[in-house]
Symmetry: C2
Subunit: 176 residues, 2 copies
DNA sequence: TCGAATTAGTTCGGAGCCTAACTAATTATG
DNA sequence: CATAATTAGTTAGGCTCCGAACTAATTCGA
């Protein structure tokens, strides 16, 4: 009764018409779903991205991991501490450049891949249930374009340009 | 040199081909951009969503705010504490139901709207630079469909169905 | 070659968000 | 009407993530 609806006053820009709002909401439903799936295997979401990157390529440095996962140094360090404590990885100082630390999966960590990677695939295909291949490609391109619009230098946080397998990716403002 | 590329072995599912990964990456670029814009006005991102919801409709309860923003009770409580401490809102226990607390903007809080809301609009239009209206609509529908796929009961976290102004929204699995 | 700049990683502190467990008020039910 | 179930909000604690400031190693340039 004390509610005042200001909606139509002056500038009306309801939250749910903002693309940022939608992206956030979509992200949250996605992440909560994934979190629940991983919880069944006792894997905190924070570890997930790093394990995933390591299954894809083993032995990379922490710096490279940060880039691939899209996280900052401290986050990477912390998660690697957790993952190491569980015995999924070992860290080896580089011989040629002693600043660098290479991260290697242990057999235990490597074994996880077979049980956990299908989770990501199911999560993925569940998300896209009912989408045609063309719709998926359109969506992917749109997300790429948004990332590039937000900050060209950041557009490769989540995925590298060349990952668009069939180079249909329209190069938007490549910023030489 | 100690790197082993496992990419092509067995199940190859590179991170950047996962839609979840792309959504996460897009969300992160978006949120970091918004965070930076808000920082110039000394508004932490955590407050933003609640202020935004209150500018849209004032005097709602904390419960309603939680629903609109898509956050859980404790998050709402904490952010409202912060916002209240800054003098942007006051909380009033309901007379008719003393469990409820209605949240009201102060003049100070209301005034913020004029300076801050345009930020959201700029953030929005920057994100979508180069998109046609049709492309935007397609993207919005895709995000809605993903949310519904992840969990029908959650699909209204970020935006209510009727917010799709021109009812083109294909009702996917409306759950009776 | 030696000091400055850069690079890799860590430590610290804090923001944001959640779940679990709680209190208080209201509503439903026998 | 009394008790149980539900609803609104809070408190406590944990996970995720980041920026700032730091150490150590390497590279650059005068």
């Amino acid at each position: 009764m004390t509610e005042k609806i200001m909606a139509r006053s002056k500038v009306d820009f309801p939250p749910d018409q903002s693309i940022g709002y939608l992206i956030r909401a979509t992200y949250r439903t996605y992440i909560q779903d994934l979190e629940a799936r991983l919880a069944e295997h006792d894997i905190p979401i924070g570890m997930w991205y790093f394990l995933r990157a390591l299954w894809h390529q083993d032995g990379v440095t922490q710096r490279e991991l940060s880039e691939r996962v899209g996280s900052m140094g401290p986050t990477t360090a912390e998660q690697l501490n957790n993952i190491e404590a569980r015995g999924y990885i070992v860290r080896k100082r580089s011989d040629t450049d002693r600043r660098k630390i290479h991260v290697h999966l242990t057999p235990k960590g490597r074994k996880l891949r077979d049980t956990l990677l299908p989770l990501a695939q199911r999560n993925n295909s569940d998300a896209l249930r009912g989408f045609t291949a063309a719709e998926i490609e359109t969506l992917r391109l749109s997300l790429f374009r948004i990332m590039e619009n937000f900050g060209p230098r950041r557009a490769n946080i989540g995925a590298s340009r060349e990952s668009m397998q069939n180079g249909k990716h329209k190069p938007v403002a490549t910023r030489d």
